[in-house]
């Protein structure tokens, strides 16, 4: 990176907040996405919106791409560096500035780790529900930028549902304040919604006003086992049809159960095809009723067993074990590629069946787990990046799975974002008009294209056409070679 620019950055931030050494850059060349790897030009750690404003003015003037990153747990390449870019890392902006119990809000900086917010508000009798699998590492800034989901999405929604106001530094250095602490606010466009899920392509989030809800007084966690995946899927449909909204309905398939048990050793049953983790929370009486109903429904739909966690510790052990599913799958294969195709809930059984058939068709191994209650699946390919032939088959299988999900009225990504890994498929969901609106917005807010360029979609280039008909698709996994 240009010496003058670095000198400017060092003057602005101090020498220990600018990393340029190759060894440091190598440690920031990846995020949580498999295979993808790209060296940045430098890594910087600002600690205020004012500093970020200065940085963006400089970057704009010199046309240097800026990739914002929190803890780097993205699974779609959202926080992966663009070659030679500035990685703007927010982890030093990690203050919880205020918890306002009277209005049930919290004002935070983007580098606060997700789980820390919930811990901090508990003493006020409040609750921050979004709990992505990586909640003990991921940052709130990253969660907002990716509109992250989690295990409780079914009942409590996703990050978007908790963002009341944002402070955002725009690409040319202006600082935008959008949203208020009011429950009702219809003054102008809801600009904050534009930045939620924008993956760092429209602005850099520097403050977030989070909505909080009362902490549920009771919670009950249950584990049901099934001899077929179909039975588990039918149980979920029946629970939802019976007007119960549990806070969590997670499933693991056989492969995933084995991997998780090998790591966590909490005594998961190994001789079952599917496992359903069910949780309900709220008023103690309602929780009792709902738990009993869910227990009955599971048994009516062929559950081999239903066990109730005897205390909070056991419940926590179960949900913590579920959170390790993705990483635990890495035990059985050198490379694990995780996707999050999502379908309307009544099409779940069909989608799961299709995933299994696709795996057989392309002779690839898949472990599937995910949020059955909200239709968000995590088919995970167990492969080896060095086996190019197999990787090609994995790509083909993915393509079919994405197309099927969209055909069923679903989407290519439920919570991980598009990033680099899925941008080729974005048009399947947006259509040409939607994609064009995306491009116009990007053009308006980031005219020089410095913010996380090349993520979600390409600004220029032809409109993508269908992926079929023998069109040469370079593939999600070949991007690193470009």
């Amino acid at each position: 990176m240009d010496k003058n620019i670095l000198a400017n950055l060092i003057r602005l931030l101090g020498p220990d907040r600018v990393l340029t050494q190759k060894e440091d850059l190598l440690a920031y060349a990846f995020d949580g996405t498999p295979i993808l790897n790209e060296l940045p030009g430098c890594v910087i750690f600002p600690d205020s919106a004012a500093q970020i404003s200065e940085i963006l003015k400089l970057a704009n003037q010199k046309r240097i791409p800026v990739v914002t990153r929190g803890s780097g747990t993205s699974l779609s390449g959202g926080s992966l560096p663009v070659p030679g870019c500035m990685v703007l890392c927010t982890v030093k902006m990690d203050r919880i500035l205020n918890v306002d119990a009277a209005n049930s809000t919290a004002l935070v900086e983007p580098g606060v780790v997700t789980a820390r917010l919930d811990e901090a508000v508990q003493s006020h009798g409040l609750f921050y529900p979004p709990d992505p699998g990586s909640m003990h590492i991921s940052t709130l800034g990253g969660n907002v930028a990716h509109n992250s989901g989690g295990l409780r999405g079914l009942k409590y929604g996703v990050t978007r549902d908790y963002v009341m106001a944002l402070q955002v530094v725009l690409s040319q250095g202006d600082i935008l304040e959008t949203g208020t602490a009011c429950v009702k606010d219809v003054a102008g466009y809801r600009l904050k919604d534009l930045f939620i899920g924008s993956e760092g392509t429209l602005g850099i989030i520097t403050r977030i006003l989070m909505k909080l809800v009362p902490k549920p007084r009771a919670r009950k966690t249950m584990l049901a086992t099934f001899s077929t995946m179909q039975a588990a899927a039918e149980t979920v449909s029946a629970i939802i049809a019976s007007r119960i909204i549990p806070c969590t309905l997670e499933f693991l398939d056989r492969t995933t159960i084995h991997c998780v048990e090998e790591y966590a050793k909490i005594g998961l049953p190994l001789d079952v095809e599917a496992l359903l983790l069910m949780e309900t929370d709220g008023h103690p009486v309602v929780v009792e009723e709902e738990a009993a109903a869910m227990n009955r429904i599971a048994r009516d739909h062929g559950a081999m067993s239903v066990t109730v966690a005897k205390d909070n510790d056991e419940a926590l052990r179960l949900s913590s074990a579920r959170r390790t599913a993705f990483s635990a799958l890495a035990r059985v294969a050198p490379t694990t590629i995780l996707e999050d195709a999502t379908v309307p809930r009544d099409r779940l059984a069909e989608m799961i069946g299709f995933i299994q058939k696709t795996a057989e068709k392309y002779k690839v191994r898949i472990g599937t787990f995910g949020h059955m209650g909200d239709g968000n699946l995590h088919p995970t390919f167990l492969t080896d990046e060095r086996n190019t032939n197999e990787i090609r088959r994995v790509e083909q299988a993915f393509t079919e799975i994405f197309e099927k999900a969209v055909a069923l009225g679903g989407t290519i990504t439920g919570e991980h974002g598009v990033g680099l890994a899925k941008k080729k498929f974005l048009h399947l969901v947006t259509g040409p008009v939607g994609l064009n609106v995306h491009r116009q917005l990007k053009q308006a807010l980031d005219p020089n294209g410095i913010l996380n360029p090349g993520k979600i979609f390409d600004v220029g280039g032809p409109h993508p056409t269908s992926l079929q008909q023998g069109e040469e698709w370079r593939g999600i996994l070949d991007l690193s070679a470009s």
């Binding site: 990393l19 190759k22 060894e23 440690a27 390790t324 890495a330 035990r331």
Partner: protein, 437 residues
């Protein structure tokens, strides 16, 4: 050769950089830099294995900034073998000699290739230190302020020197014929006396022998045994670590022993890997395999054989006294290195005179980490201070921990703050509970 290139690639590839290790890494927490995180370090190791970089000074510096506490290994659902990666990375740094200065090379030679290669030399050095302490020189020098004249590092090192014991471990200890009765002696075990343990805490070794005998074990302490070599393996001295492992395999008759007992977490953790260390040695591979299967930490073994609970001494005067607040600090190489966490608590829970209180962040490194408190005093001091803060917060007057390095580190931290808190090995507390019976 290149230690990282020669390593089976699947070991580096096992890390899928999900980041679940980040919150458990003390150096990442302190710096918030990925370079100082487990997945960042593995990325650097992989870059060396791929030939993207050599073992540069920055690479080596990072590998030595790592505590080797292995908390990341516990956190890792993917099962990354960080122990092996970390040892190979340091070995590679030393092979290239990227940090070498005449002074550093000289110190390493004296320490790893001379002093710690022979128990006799170690004991001789220990004796010298003992004279220094016994003759009152230490007190005199500490009080005189003369230490302020020597380099800061030496000054800090001085404050960490353990008090050398009057009598070292009873080597050549042979099973007693009287007690326990031969027919009740169903188990025969060997004890590794260790290096620091032998010089500074031989009582822990005596207590280990006593407790095992009280539980019907025949105990042998082979005379020919040496330092286990963990110090060497963790500091890039891979070949000397092999020499020491072979000497110990020669000293212990593994076939006739039911278990090889370690009471120092670091030793036990390393000795479990003798099989890997000597896998390519046709003369030792098979015995090393048996050895690794038989290594047990003392707490683990006592629980395994169903140790006798001490009587609660209701008739004695102790029952009248209020109970002493006891807490437990988990040595990294016990909890992370050997996944032993419940067993020491079972033993401590069986003691009649104590009230067990959980220590916040019990599994967070105390900063001792082998010789880390000497090589990285700043980070080590931060961790020490944090540990002491937690001990104070729960008002414990006794801290149990199962590693000599941790004992020294915590004692030194407590002394700095002028606190009257005792630090002891769990087996010592069990021995104390048996004795008045």
């Amino acid at each position: 050769m290149n230690f990282l290139k020669d390593l089976d690639y699947s070991v580096v590839q096992q890390c899928m950089h999900c980041g679940l290790c980040l919150p458990t890494c003390p150096t990442y927490e302190a710096t918030r830099r990925e370079t100082s995180s487990p997945r960042g370090r593995i990325a650097l190791m992989r870059a060396v294995a791929d030939g993207k970089i050599d073992a540069t000074p920055a690479f080596a510096g990072e590998m030595y900034f790592c505590l080797g506490c292995l908390a990341c290994e516990t956190a890792c659902p993917a099962g990354v073998d960080y122990t092996h990666l970390f040892e190979m990375a340091r070995a590679e740094a030393e092979r290239v000699g990227t940090l070498a200065t005449p002074k550093r090379t000289w110190i390493r030679k004296i320490l790893f290739q001379w002093l710690f290669m022979s128990r006799r030399r170690l004991r001789f050095a220990g004796r010298l230190l003992w004279f220094y302490q016994k003759l009152g020189l230490q007190t005199l020098i500490r009080k005189s302020g003369l230490l302020r004249l020597v380099p800061k590092q030496l000054h800090e090192l001085e404050s960490l020197t353990p008090t050398i014991a009057n009598h070292f471990t009873p080597f050549g200890h042979q099973p007693e014929t009287r007690n326990p009765e031969p027919e009740t002696c169903r188990r025969r075990v060997g004890i590794l006396a260790g290096c620091v343990q032998d010089l500074a805490f031989p009582d822990v070794n005596r207590d280990t022998i006593y407790v095992l005998e009280q539980n019907g074990c025949q105990v042998v302490v082979p005379v020919q045994q040496q330092c286990c070599g963990s110090l060497h393996a963790h500091n890039g001295e891979w070949e000397t670590a092999k020499i020491l492992a072979r000497k110990n395999l020669d000293a212990f008759d593994v076939d006739t022993l039911d278990a090889i007992i370690a009471n120092a977490a670091g030793c036990g953790s390393h000795m479990r890997h003798y099989d890997r260390l000597l896998a390519d040695d046709p003369n030792y591979a098979e015995r090393a395999r048996i050895w690794s299967k038989k290594v047990r930490d003392i707490s683990e073994y006592l629980v395994e054989i169903g140790f006798r609970k001490p009587s609660d001494g209701k008739s004695g005067p102790d029952s009248l006294r209020s109970k002493i607040r006891l807490t437990y600090h988990e040595a990294c190489h016990l909890v992370h290195g050997q996944k032993i966490s419940k067993q020491p608590r079972i033993i401590l829970g069986s003691l009649p005179r104590y009230e067990m209180v959980e220590l916040p962040e019990a599994t967070w490194c105390c900063g001792s980490a082998g010789i880390y408190n000497i090589t990285q005093p700043e980070m080590a001091a931060q961790l020490q201070e944090r540990k002491i803060r937690h001990i104070i917060s729960i008002g414990a007057s006794l801290v149990a921990t199962a590693n000599p390095g941790c004992i020294i580190q915590i004692v030194s931290g407590l002394r700095c703050q002028g606190l009257q808190v005792r630090v002891a090995h769990p087996v010592t507390l069990l021995a104390e509970a048996y004795r008045p019976e």
